[in-house]
Symmetry: C2
Subunit: 94 residues, 2 copies
Amino acid sequence: MRPGKLDEGEIEYALSSLKGWTRNGTSITRTFAFKKFLDGIAWVDKVALAAERLDHHPDLDIRYNKIAATLSTHSAGGLTKLDFELAREMDALG
Amino acid sequence: MRPGKLDEGEIEYALSSLKGWTRNGTSITRTFAFKKFLDGIAWVDKVALAAERLDHHPDLDIRYNKIAATLSTHSAGGLTKLDFELAREMDALG
């Protein structure tokens, strides 16, 4: 079963446990910076495997050594705990 | 030496040899669609190696199994033959 939409209080609480992520309405976003272009690509590969495991896929905008990640649960019409779980995994891999 | 900016006639000619790419002012763009998310990621890995070899890096926007690629030569302030070379390599790998 897919998780339900978080309410405002839950979102604030989950966001407060993360660093570098900002909220834009129904999504959260963070830009990751890497020393080299291929370091960023190696991170994308690891994130992709985490995304497949969670069956939850981030939007990734690759701009040389900077990669902007955006998370939202479209099927729920907002943010769910899946978004924050993937955010934490992306942080740990970054 | 880095290649110089192409003129309008050269851009039209180079663009006519490609399929699926559209021009937006000083850049060209194409959206690649893949059967599965990880197929797109595998393509990104191959494109990344081509980009490093050419020392020319595409903007890549990953949206699940669709990836939008945008090419421009910022140092030249427009499109150069490097953009079309990388576009052809991306097509061949896609």
